[in-house]
């Protein structure tokens, strides 16, 4: 079969592009190297929907401002958990007040909904700081929930997923494009390259010479305190290794520190070190009340796909739209970026159609025994997760936010594995944690 569009990459960008295409009635296939959707860059996103992204003139900044408000409707329709939280751009000493004033004026000049938070009593219950600029409009979203609900909705709408399939070669021909993958050949009229960290390799096949470099970010999650705002320290001279990052509340009731920016050995390097952890604890710990009483839950890393220009780039070749340099704020911008990608496809010749609505997504049915008592997940939900395409333990657990707290799935992991093996009709030793050779039972 010849698909109207083959989308390479099942991260938030690939999924939102597929969503826009499916709404217009096109036949779509999504191919991804990982065994579950969104397991590249998106899997390691902190879930923050940005308001401020510098420089304001950049494409990624404009995308973030367009994309952010769209999430309210998207989350409502798909049933994805999110929190509206303000962001505090804070300083730790009163002598830095001019920095706060300067930041405030700068943001107001650019039309950002910012206010001065000098006494800021409400937030000083959570944080220790002198003064801050308060910016409204930030959100934290259940990024796993978003990816899986989009994936489920797209599957129900007939989009075909080829997960765990590596793209080996892409060739544009007169009437279409052939995408050769480790799972076989896919033919399409058009291709969207949303390959994240690997988008450059695909682009090079079609003559676009761009290098995507991994910008590693380490994040640490703590349990024991819920905060009601994002806090980002305002500094005059950012430490080169802790550029950016913030104290971020998660939808799971934990607090996340980071990400920082460190060197990655390669695109798959997501290892962490004691220094990473200490750097994060030192930078952010002093702003959080009772930090010393919190329990570190996990430390993990992700890689941002950095483009040479530092901005998101949309490039077209014959029948392909390439999306390059999709670093963190692109998560916020993805719903807007998807519209732009569709326009770019239309410029290449894809027929213009009016978008309709996808059928509403059925919620999971709760029944049977409770397997995960922390999050109240039942046996039927686990079975349904398998039915909806999850083949890995991490995939099933991420769908429900299991193992995100301090218990790490200790009490439910074996029971989930048992239900999965029954549902898949295989022995537990044939099930992996996250694909490849990540076997659980030897």
């Amino acid at each position: 079969m010849v698909f109207d569009v083959v989308v390479i990459g099942s991260g938030v960008v690939g999924l939102f592009v597929s969503f826009e295409l499916a709404r217009r009635g096109f036949s779509v296939a999504v191919v991804d190297r990982y065994p579950e959707p969104g397991w590249g860059v998106s899997r390691r996103h902190a879930g923050v929907l940005h308001v401020i992204q510098l420089p304001f003139s950049s494409y990624k900044s404009r995308l973030a401002r367009r994309g952010n408000p769209k999430y309210v409707e998207i989350c409502r329709r798909l049933g994805v958990e999110y929190k509206e939280v303000p962001a505090l751009l804070a300083v730790d000493g009163w002598w830095k007040l001019p920095v706060v004033l300067a930041a405030f004026l700068y943001l107001r000049l650019h039309g950002i909904d910012a206010s001065l938070c000098l006494r800021c009593r409400e937030y000083k219950r959570d944080f220790k700081f002198a003064a801050a600029v308060l910016v409204r409009g930030y959100k934290v979203v259940d990024s796993f929930g978003l990816v899986y609900r989009l994936y489920d909705a797209l599957r129900e709408a007939g989009v075909q997923f080829f997960l765990g399939c590596r793209v080996d070669h892409v060739e544009e021909e007169a009437g279409g494009v052939v995408v050769r993958t480790s799972c076989g050949e896919l033919s399409a009229r058009y291709v969207v390259n949303a390959g994240g960290l690997y988008a450059d390799e695909i682009a090079k096949e079609l003559g676009v010479n761009v290098d995507i470099t991994p910008g590693k970010g380490v994040m640490a999650v703590f349990h024991g305190r819920e905060v009601r705002a994002i806090l980002a320290p305002l500094t005059l001279r950012p430490h080169p290794r802790t550029k950016g990052g913030a104290i971020i509340p998660t939808v799971y009731g934990t607090v996340l520190f980071g990400p920082n920016l460190t060197d990655a050995r390669d695109k798959e390097d997501v290892s962490t070190s004691k220094e990473d952890f200490e750097l994060l604890a030192k930078k952010f710990g002093k702003y959080l009340r009772d930090f010393e009483h919190l329990t570190p839950v996990k430390i993990f890393a992700g890689n941002r796909p950095l483009s040479p220009t530092g901005d998101v780039v949309v490039k077209t070749t014959g029948r392909t739209v390439h999306v390059l340099g999709t670093e963190s704020p692109t998560f916020t911008g993805a719903p807007a970026l998807a519209e732009d990608v569709v326009k770019a496809l239309e410029d290449l010749g894809l027929p213009k159609r009016r978008p309709g609505e996808l059928p509403p997504l059925k919620p999971y049915a709760k029944c049977g025994r409770v397997v995960c008592f922390c999050r109240g997940v039942t046996e039927c939900e686990i079975r349904e997760a398998v039915g909806r395409g999850s083949r890995t333990l991490d995939g099933v657990m991420a769908r429900f936010g299991m193992g995100m707290g301090p218990c790490q799935g200790s009490r439910c992991m074996a029971e989930i594995l048992k239900i999965m093996s029954e549902e898949l009709g295989v022995e537990p030793r044939e099930i992996t944690k996250f694909g490849g050779g990540s076997w659980l039972v030897l």
Partner: protein, 290 residues
Amino acid sequence: MARVVIIGAGLGGLYAAEKLHDAGHEVVVLERLERPGGLWILHEDYEAGNWPWIRFGVTATAIDGKCVVTDRGRFCGDVIIEATGFREKTPAELGIFGTRPAGVFALWTAMRMTELGWRIGRRVVIYGCNKWAEGLARQLSDGGVDVDMFGPSFWCRERATIRELRGSERLTQIATDRGVLDVDTLVIAEAVPHSWLGAAYRVGNSAIVIDDVSYVKLAVEFFVKTLEGGGFRVYGSGLEVFPTTTAGEVVVKVPAPGVVEVCGVEAQVSTQYAVFKVREGCLLRYVRRS
């Protein structure tokens, strides 16, 4: 006579039920699994008995006032006691960095997998020293698995600290302060008390992690006395104390052999657990190692 709902049929929960039943109260023990014992099935001194008050296959998800919310309906009583066991420490909490491969299991998961007949690994390190971990080690080596057991605490026969995990898919290596080990599995058995449901009353490992049957029983007895007759608060510093509201006696757990100050009097403690009589307003303080 009161109606008591106990969550968890491990040693702590079962012994509390027995004591409360003997004192004439009506008890019900809610157990998630289809068998009693919890993690204690790994313990050499644990003996399964016939307890008529257990309701098997009932998973508690929340406590709502005087009722326990479960997947089999609500169980209400005058007193609710949580006996849901400890929580294993997280790798981040233990200062373990590196990669996050498959083959790293919490003790509870490793026990359940072994119980279900699945081999958790071929070369296994158990990190943390207690009688349950020893039980798992015995079971695994009886099954032909190569097992090494050590931990960071003083009470470990073999002491070593894990720094880093390696392996991108399954675990391949563990870097410790004593060198690098080629293993495919890590079981984390370092544990801390944990309230899974936030009950006002807790016994067993949910309140204080004790792997000695006689001290668990003493701790439960002190708790039951307080529950019936009331008591006063006691505070510990540098050591763990249970019950924190007592009628006069407490079990303490020390980080290493050393000197403990009780109500202004110093005492030498050479075992991990000890019992002390306390008065109201007393502080129990771990003074120094010996």
